[in-house]
Symmetry: C2
Subunit: 476 residues, 2 copies
């Protein structure tokens, strides 16, 4: 244990998860590490859920993004979560949110840290942070994600550390921790290339604020991503063809620009599509480094990847650690305030590719809802879409075996407005919306992206709308 | 004339508006100066409209934002405009857009210049630019706006200059022209304070590209703004009270932060509200410097104002030029790519106050449409709202003598999503939406912002929605 906790004062605070959980008070705002099921605390939340079997206990829970079952899942089942910010992807939590039992606030991921510092979300009573280790000076070596951890630690009244021995100490040096000053004293964020390091590999910590140091060896619970299906592969192919044409036309520089991609099965198809560019030495400036990003590094398609989390399947994790000496030079994990920073995204000219839940015929994108029901949240898609060099949304043209069209007359919730969307790609084709008015977008989208089964139906809607008139002829 | 055109080569290109207009070819993309009815070309457009009486002629028209009657109005009446980007506020043009006769593309104002340079909007055949004068070296001294002019001149194949002798040469030095490099070579935009000058007072011009230099003395057509009514004054009062409370709570720094405001009657009320802060030496980082901004400078409420246009009524213009020696130290006009730049807005921590057309009970904002009909466009509201320290939207609670509620179950068009909106203010009160889930936002908005005549009706809608369930219980 002592090689994990180098700091003498903090060695004195080592305790059990149960004792730590006993210090959590009813009504507290608790902020944790974690971005995707990577780098989130596990032992203290499990003990907290257990404690709630015997007593009434509710907290407001702030994280980086989604987290694993031990945190969102078990605390939801125990009825502990009252308010949840800024993103989630847990089935039990979603059910509670959609019943109105949990107040979920769906925030742009780059906004949260500064909103905490500005005082907009109230004070943080307790931060629970997973780390791989603590240096002699009491600094944290984080594990598989950075997320909002640096700001949570700075803002929280008390801090608990979970040292996770399943996370190798060799992660030391992969993180780049930078907290901007706040207005009116903020300075430019000095990233000029995805590989620029601008901060420290460690998170500074005031040992006096630490209430508990707990050991655990529970591993990150990242499910293996399913292989992309034909639709996802089709999207990847169209994407690569489109980007190659754009380069040929001089609208993308010769060596492309840094890519960003969402997470999940469709995104996996997109990332495989990048192989089809026939290019080498590209870079990735995104949130999540998933298995397929490692494959692209292995294939020399990517020379570098910047993100805020390592979200690797068990197989991916094994592969990563076996080749850590190589990946260490090619991967940086940053706070999500920096990985998703509008200033940096616009400066670097990121090519952004995110998955839509549905798209309307005018190009507005729903990323969050099915009807009135919340799925996961907007995540970082808005941070990237709004500031990218080129903003692309992808979706299969149909869902549920062809029963539901993803191109609709009107989306149930607008997360990305027509002003922010350049290109839509489905397995049917590419709709380039740049420079098109709403009445032109409708035809381009239906012709190029709609599944043939729904084309006629949508064309009739367009004709109806045009008869009613107006710049954006919505069908009532 | 020679003191207006210092460059010998360009002196040789002086000609009439008619001769210049004769050089415009059918099907051209024409880009002009102008941002609001300030600094737009007048004589050549009028001659072009006249020419179209005798022959078929259509162009695509790009500008900075809205422009004056001589350009948007007369060219629309003449049937010349086929495509129009990125914003407009002309009644005749709006009618043509809503009939589907003009394809209008409604863009974020900070996005357009880089989209031109990236090649996303095609090539520009001709730029027609108003200037106060030309230096000996052939550089332009712009007039009352900067807008997209620097990039239009750089990108256009040919350029025509309108020297407007109604615009005093004393404007020299008020502009700050800076064009960022494009990715992958872009660098930080080095503005740390609203008053920082980062470029040149002149726009560089290759005299070889110039086809014509035309003289005119037609004045900018800025209508006088009506005095704020009681509702607008109420909004201004609530805004000031809210900001004072925020400062007291430590959520806004002691000396506040730079303010941004929309344009128009409601915005005039907002700006008068800033007087109510009882503060001095504030700064303004916005698009449009209108009469009320000068009043705030005169009253020492504002120490500095940065914008991209001087949109002054005839009385305001007179006052401005009479005191130019004073205002010159306190005002900068920048390209709209910089005045509205996300990087700079987030760094400075701008407090953004824009006018909504309508707001839904979940906090989504419509800034552009009445039903399917386009009003003016999103303008810069998204540039600021998305990146501000604090994002506030204001609207009277009712319109048309109380017949229409501006708070509605669902907006007809979403321009600013719930993720981007912090605070809504009507003359009824303030709804602070930060940290609230959709089901909480509904109640806060109806209680605090809704006109009493509509409150019961909206509350019923909320109850209906909650019965249906879901995170965002929209009423079908």
């Amino acid at each position: 244990m002592s090689n994990r906790v180098g700091n003498a004062e903090l060695q004195g605070k080592i305790t059990t998860a149960e004792q730590a959980a006993a210090m959590v008070e009813d009504g507290m705002t608790v902020a944790t590490s974690g971005f995707t099921p990577a780098g989130y605390p596990k032992a203290i939340p499990l003990a907290l859920a257990k404690r709630a079997e015997r007593e009434e206990l509710t907290i407001d829970l702030f994280t980086g993004a989604s987290v694993g079952q031990e945190l969102d899942g078990e605390l939801t089942k125990a009825g502990i979560i009252r308010r949840r910010i800024p993103y989630q992807a847990n089935r039990e939590l979603q059910a509670a949110i959609n019943k109105g039992n949990v107040n979920f606030i769906d925030l742009h991921l780059s906004h949260m840290a500064q909103m905490i510092r500005y005082g907009f979300l109230g004070k943080i009573d307790l931060a629970i942070i997973e780390a791989a280790g603590i240096t002699q000076q009491g600094e944290l070596i984080l594990s598989t994600s950075v997320g909002n951890t640096p700001t949570f630690i700075q803002a929280a009244e008390r801090v608990m550390i979970e040292i996770n021995t399943s996370q190798p100490l060799e992660l030391e040096g992969i993180h780049d921790i930078y907290i901007p000053f706040d207005p009116p004293n903020r300075e430019p964020i000095p990233i000029m290339k995805p590989q620029d390091r601008i901060g420290s590999p460690y998170v500074t910590l005031n040992p006096g604020k630490v209430s508990a140091v707990v050991f655990t060896d529970i591993v990150d619970k990242v499910p293996p991503f399913p292989e992309p299906d034909e639709a996802c592969k089709g999207i990847g192919t169209h994407l690569a063809e489109f980007l190659k044409e754009e380069k040929k036309a001089g609208r993308i520089p010769e060596n492309y620009l840094p890519f960003q991609s969402g997470v999940g099965t469709v995104a996996n198809g997109v990332l495989q599509g990048l192989q089809g560019l026939g290019a080498e030495g590209l870079s990735f400036f995104s949130e999540v480094i998933q298995d397929s990003v490692l494959s692209l590094i292995d294939a020399n398609v990517l020379a570098f990847a910047s993100g805020t989390s390592l979200t690797l399947s068990p197989r991916g994790t094994e592969h990563f650690y076996r080749n850590l000496h190589n990946y260490r030079q090619k991967i940086i994990l940053r706070p999500q305030e920096i990985s998703n920073n509008p200033e940096v995204i616009r400066r670097l000219g990121v090519i952004s590719v995110n998955t839509a839940v549905e798209v309307d015929i005018f190009g507005n994108v729903n990323s969050t809802h099915v009807g009135s029901r919340m799925l996961n949240g907007i995540g970082g898609s808005g941070d990237f879409a709004r500031n990218a060099y080129l903003t692309i949304f992808v979706t299969p043209s149909v869902l549920r075996g062809g029963q539901i069209s993803c191109l609709v007359p009107r989306v149930s919730h607008v997360d990305h407005t027509e002003h922010d969307v350049d290109v839509i790609i489905t397995e049917q084709g590419v709709a380039d919306l740049r420079g098109l008015a709403p009445r032109e977008r409708t035809h381009t989208l239906v012709e190029n992206c709609c599944h043939p089964d729904f084309r006629l139906q949508l064309k009739e809607k367009i004709v109806q709308g045009e008869k009613q008139g107006g710049h954006t002829p919505y069908i009532k």
